[in-house]
């Protein structure tokens, strides 16, 4: 097992150490050779910058909004797909297909071909019905992004919960039905407790990905207008690769790592229990 351990150790330690080291330097790629130690200055500027607060709020809004939609929707979808039906394989594939679409494709297709107020699908329908087309990215850029990301992740939540539902003990359900439990109380007292663990796992795994949303923002809004759709990942990208401010970008990177770790600790505990 040692080659893989060594590889991952290197992958983890080398860049991480460099990020932490850079975060204490005044270091801009535009002015090479002027690096100097500045202590906590980068952190101070990164955190007090108003766009940091915006980015933090946007990050939380995106992951809160997406998790809300995917969790409620995922429970509903999986319960429906778990019902007896014909062609269930084909239907399941139709529902989960969006998950396999690469982020740049789904973001651009939604933005240009559906949400564009002039030629987009929704705009065309609105015009056809004699209504005023809604300018999704002009009026509600953050909600539009949340919508697109939810479309990608709802299938994931559905698939996980459906897999979990299929391992539910059918005898238990039938017994409760014999005892006169209606479908609502069966849902509350048997199905929901059974789903509690997979729901938690689905939420935690999505959180890891949702905190790092990047491509969807890059191709649709570039974080704008202003900082309306800038999340933490995108803000750090702008600082590092567009403004070449290695120091501030690294400080942001360290903050992102700390935030992700808080989530990671909970997730690792849940997965670790499974190893025993």
């Amino acid at each position: 097992m040692s080659p893989s351990v060594l590889l991952l150790l290197g992958w983890m330690l080398v860049p991480l150490t460099m990020t932490i080291y850079f975060s204490f330097l005044r270091y801009n790629l535009l002015y090479p050779g002027t690096e100097s130690f500045t202590g906590w200055t980068n952190y101070y500027y990164f955190v007090t910058d108003p766009s940091f607060t915006d980015a933090l709020i946007n990050t939380i809004s995106i992951f809160g909004g997406v998790l809300f939609i995917t969790t409620i929707g995922g429970v509903g979808f999986s319960l429906l797909l778990d019902q007896p039906m014909w062609k269930s394989g084909l239907i399941r594939m139709l529902v989960i297909a969006p998950f396999f679409v690469m982020p740049t494709v789904s973001a651009l297709v939604w933005k240009n071909m559906f949400m564009n107020p002039v030629n987009g699908f929704f705009g065309q329908i609105a015009t056809f019905l004699g209504l005023q087309p809604f300018d999704f990215f002009g009026q509600a850029p953050l909600l539009s992004i949340i919508w697109i990301i939810s479309w990608q992740w709802l299938p994931f939540a559905t698939l996980i919960l459906l897999t979990a539902l299929q391992s539910l003990d059918r005898d238990q359900l039938e017994a409760s039905e014999m005892d006169g439990a209606n479908s609502f109380s069966r849902f509350i007292f048997i199905i929901l407790p059974h789903l509690a663990r997979p729901i938690t796992v689905a939420i935690l795994i999505q959180t890891i990905f949702l905190l790092s949303i990047f491509a969807e923002i890059l191709v649709t809004t570039n974080g704008g207008p202003g900082t309306a759709t800038t999340n933490l990942t995108y803000l750090i990208y702008v600082q590092s690769l567009l403004q070449f401010d290695v120091g501030a970008g690294s400080a942001g990177g360290v903050i992102a790592i700390i935030l992700a770790n808080i989530v990671a600790i909970f997730l690792m505990r849940m997965i670790g229990k499974n190893l025993e």
């Binding site: 893989s4 019902q83 062609k87 239907i91 240009n112 030629n119 997979p198 191709v219 992102a256 992700a260």
Partner: protein
Amino acid sequence: MRAISNNRKALNTAIALTLGLFMSFPIIWILILSFKSELDAIGNPLQVLLSSWTLDSFSTVQGRSDYLKHFSNSVIISLGSTFLALLVAIPSAWAMAFVPGKQTKNILMWMLSTKMLPPVGVLIPIYLLFRDYDLLDTRVGLVIILTLINLPIIIWMLYTYFKEIPVEILEASRMDGARLKQEILYVLTPMAIPGIASTLILNIILAWNEAFWTINLTASNAAPLTAFIASYSSPEGLFYAKLSAASIMAIAPILIMGWFSQKQLVRGLTFGAVK
């Protein structure tokens, strides 16, 4: 189980099919638009459906931007990184599943924790290292990065599969006089292949769709489809037929693979926490 009436089944099917068509509608819609002319594609939906069909968009996309180059970049990068990672991961997962030591569980958990590292946290060091070692915009560079990124998932998936191979079967084959070589060749390998195959498929999917490193570390030469499609965020993306044609070719291989790997997807992405 009590019998379910056909009416009930028909109703379920109708509702679920509606839901399925609703969810995959954007994909179906770009499939239709990719076979339309640019002018027809911006008409209202009814006109779109009634207009004539053409393959023009596909040849335009290829002619204007060397689509096949980006397609083959995607193939090389996703296959290359997956095979490289499998090569490293199979012995590790094997050892951890069959000869677990005291630290095995800790090592597995630690590997998982590397997956939790947000990529943007190490964007600058990787970018600078790539710049200094001339790896920017090269396929080799991306293969290296994607190998490292997916290695923990691969090891975990293989581990959960190998763990399910019963040890008793090894003992039985030894009783029957199998030597180590025969044991590996005729007993273990056949049992391990399904697990390895589904790990392979899931990781090709993940590598194909990876859109943080592929966008940030490539310009044009090594750009896979994720980065190529990102270039359509310019006004060029308003040419619906072309955008549709480029998109449908980019997602088709993965949709087909996804069809075969739904179950494995859950196991792989939840690190075995949901099976």
